[in-house]
């Protein structure tokens, strides 16, 4: 079944993608697979350190996304 993924990009990641968000549809997919697909679209992501949040929570690579979700690629934090 197809799901709508709202993908948000921040900081240096948004510089690489040239956009702050996009919507893709996808079957159930792991974070690792999603990152692999995004890296094919934006090869410079390979050199970047980032975490992936699903619906505002940081998830591990093996987590499966099997619903409509808000995904965020988060570069290293720099608050304060």
């Amino acid at each position: 079944m197809n799901h709508k993924l709202h993908i948000k990009y921040f900081g240096q990641i948004a510089e690489i993608t040239g956009k702050s968000f996009e919507i893709i549809s996808s079957d159930s997919i792991s974070i690792e697979e999603l990152v692999k697909n995004l890296t094919e679209s934006y090869p410079s992501l390979r050199d970047q350190e980032f975490k992936v949040a699903v619906d505002h929570e940081i998830k591990s690579k093996s987590s499966q996304i099997s619903h409509d979700a808000e995904i965020a690629l988060l570069p290293p934090f720099a608050g304060g």
Binding site: K8, F10, G11, Q12, A53, H56, A72, L74, P75, P76, F77, A78, G79, G80
Partner: protein, 145 residues
């Protein structure tokens, strides 16, 4: 659970805003100790380039949730009376304040411990990003140590 509050302020946090926050606590007379952390933008020099300002951005919804979680955890761990966190978004020039954390309790020991715990948690858990602008128009992305 309370709804997360908005922690973000557009631009630098002014000394007047901080003074006003202190004044607002004068009616809370069970408090015997305040502790305040102020994060200030540093004019770092890297290979002849000097940082003139930082442009802060954030994943605001997640960051406000993170600030809220930190707040709930600190209230559970420490017997504090109140705490306030404000973080800048947008441009903050070198020398200006970008983070204001204010914690209060009846006695001093707790506020020393609680403040450090809050600031460290913010640095590690809040999805806030900083673009350091240099005096030659280039930039780099700040990473917390």
């Amino acid at each position: 659970m309370n709804k997360p509050k908005n922690v973000f302020i557009q631009g630098a946090i002014t000394p007047e805003f901080i003074a006003d926050s202190i004044a607002k606590h004068q009616t809370k007379t069970s408090i015997g100790a305040h502790n305040i952390f102020l994060g200030q933008v540093r004019a770092d020099t890297i290979e002849d380039k000097t940082v003139t300002s930082i442009i802060y951005s954030a994943y605001e919804e997640m960051a406000n949730k993170a600030f809220h979680t930190i707040r709930e955890r600190i209230f559970e761990q420490y017997e504090i009376t109140c705490m306030h966190i404000y973080h800048s978004l947008g441009e903050v020039k070198a020398g200006e304040i970008c983070l204001f954390v204010f914690v209060s309790a009846p006695h001093r020991k707790i506020v020393f411990e609680a403040l450090e715990a809050i600031v460290e948690a913010i640095k590690a858990e809040a999805p806030v990003f900083g673009k350091e602008l240099f005096d030659n128009e280039t930039h780099q992305w700040k990473v917390n140590q």
